[in-house]
């Protein structure tokens, strides 16, 4: 399969061929997802309980990972922050995958002028930086998770649609598609029942990689104060809140979310790449 997944420059050098790295990443992804799911029960404290008298305290039996400048428990905020930090990218990936596959499928299958219109208009989105688009939409619609998620979903759509289109172009030339045509199956039936399931693994691998990038972008947005509302625990927001703590010499509450963001992005990248590799090897 000739289709190449889109990865960002620095992360493109990560090799997923080594099995221990892949397993570690898969384990980490599972752990983060589990943490997000079980956060309300696993969190030792209320993430928004302010205890100013205890501000900037280091790790203690009461607060395993210390507290931030407002005296809020860092571990609880990290656990509950995983929810927001994963839910946002999930929305981005879900929307961009569904819409991108639809656009790519129609463009690749029909070809002709429709392909030109769809391809050119998605390239137009490509030309516009995703973060800028998000900042623009957030500044128009105000705070909240929905606006940046929608903006990033539109920004990520071209990655998926371009990949889908190239896969569909290759797939529709395969004789089994002709065979189904001769049998009298309609184009929609062939697309949905045969072409889509055959290209899905590669598209989903790209979406997995996109998940990591969307997480990074959303964290960046909330670091700028543009994403989630102020009190919602969120990793990007925590880095922003932790700035003052770093200046006071207590970096834990800002460094930990940073580390989590980086590790999660890398883990999703490696898992997605490895998945794509395996799919590529399996196809005859």
């Amino acid at each position: 399969m000739s289709a190449v997944l889109t990865r960002r420059p620095g992360l493109g050098r990560l090799r997923s061929a080594r099995a221990p790295l892949h397993l570690a990443c898969l384990g980490f992804v599972a752990l983060v997802v589990l943490a997000a799911l079980l956060a309300p029960w696993a969190a030792p404290d209320d993430p928004n309980a302010v205890d100013l008298g205890n501000a900037l305290a280091g790790p203690s039996p009461d607060h395993l990972l210390g507290v931030d400048a407002a005296g809020r428990d860092t571990l609880s905020r990290l656990l509950l922050g995983a929810r927001t930090s994963l839910l946002g990218p999930l929305g981005v990936v879900a929307f961009s995958t569904v819409a991108g596959v639809l656009v790519g499928l129609v463009a690749g299958w029909r070809g002709g002028w429709l392909d030109s219109v769809l391809s050119r208009s998605t390239e137009l989105v490509f030309a516009f930086p995703g973060m800028l688009l998000a900042i623009l939409i957030v500044s128009v619609y105000g705070e909240g998770l929905l606006a940046p998620v929608l903006a990033l979903a539109i920004a990520y759509l071209p990655y998926v649609s371009r990949l889908t289109r190239s896969l569909v172009l290759a797939e529709r030339e395969r004789p089994y598609v002709s065979a189904y045509r001769v049998q009298g199956h309609s184009a929609a039936q062939i697309c949905l029942r045969h072409v889509l399931p055959n290209i899905a693994p590669v598209v989903l691998a790209q979406s997995t990689i996109n998940f990591g990038y969307a997480l990074m972008d959303l964290a960046g947005l909330s670091f700028l104060g543009l994403g989630v509302p102020a009190l919602t625990p969120d990793w990007g927001r925590m880095v922003f809140d932790g700035q003052t703590a770093i200046q006071h010499g207590y970096p834990l509450s800002a460094v930990l979310p940073c580390v989590l963001i980086v590790l999660t992005v890398v883990a999703f990248n490696v898992v997605g790449e490895r998945w794509a590799d395996r799919v590529a090897r399996r196809t005859p």
Partner: protein, 265 residues
């Protein structure tokens, strides 16, 4: 003479300045078997693709049971009617089956499309039996089958529609010789039992002699010779047919002389 089930007249198709098919006419009697032979690029595959409707002709007409199949199919009823007229078995059985669909699912899907509301389980068993596959193969995915088995599945899928004409585009070319013989025997049996007409596209003259009643020789998109198979192969009238016959490797075979004859032609 019996009535022609497939009648092709004056078929033309050009790709840019290349005339892939030019003024091709032939007819296939009901239950008959017609071979189209020629080397690569002679237009035989394009002819086959026009007959099944995967390619559109620039000019000319394809009639099946007296009904025209010109232009694209409009609507579901028309599509299904055309599928029941002509079915096709493709050259490469490794590519003509969806890698994700099991044998039974392939057949069931076709049967459900063409014969909704009937019991498909018996028919599937019947079809598998007809192509010499056991019920054990029913659950297999294409990659678990050999080339010969896959081609049998492709034949069963084509027969499931109960077509009037079956187009076989180099259908045994990708198989090794012993499997080739089995599949050819199978095809002969099926024709005897079902009365389906064969349009056999091939470059292999041995295959033509074995399974066709009549043969058409194509070169550069034109028909150079046509007639009953034994006559054409035993007493070729056209220089190109003689060349094709001499190109088959055998003892005392001289490739240099054939290359010279080809240049002279």
């Amino acid at each position: 003479m019996t009535e022609a089930v497939l009648q092709v007249t004056g078929l033309c198709r050009a790709f840019g300045s290349v005339r892939a098919v030019h003024e091709v006419s032939f007819s296939l009697p009901a239950g008959g078997s017609l071979g189209i032979v020629g080397e690569s690029g002679s237009g035989k595959t394009t002819t086959a693709r026009i007959v099944v409707g995967l390619e559109q002709a620039d000019a000319g007409e394809v009639l099946v049971r007296g009904r025209a199949r010109t232009g694209r199919a409009r609507g579901r009823a028309e599509r299904l009617a055309r599928a029941r007229e002509v079915q096709m078995v493709f050259q490469d059985p490794y590519l003509s089956l969806d890698p994700r669909t099991s044998v039974e699912a392939v057949l069931r899907e076709t049967l459900r499309l063409h014969f909704p509301g009937t019991d498909h389980t018996t028919r599937i068993r019947e079809l598998l039996d007809q192509v010499g596959l056991g019920t054990r193969a029913a659950d297999a995915l294409p990659r678990q089958l050999s080339g010969g088995q896959r081609q049998r599945v492709a034949i069963a899928r084509a027969l499931a529609v109960e077509p009037a004409v079956l187009v076989l585009d180099e259908a045994v070319a990708a198989l090794d010789v012993s499997v080739q013989a089995q599949v050819l025997n199978l095809l002969a049996d099926i024709r005897e039992r079902t009365g389906v007409g064969y349009l056999f596209i091939t470059h292999d003259l041995g295959v033509v002699r074995c399974v066709t009643d009549e043969v058409v020789v194509m070169r550069h998109g034109r028909i150079v010779e046509a007639g009953p198979t034994t006559e054409v192969l035993d007493a070729p009238r056209h220089a190109y047919t003689r060349l094709l016959l001499e190109s088959v490797p055998r003892p005392g075979w001289d490739p240099d002389r054939i290359a010279a004859a080809r240049r002279a032609l």
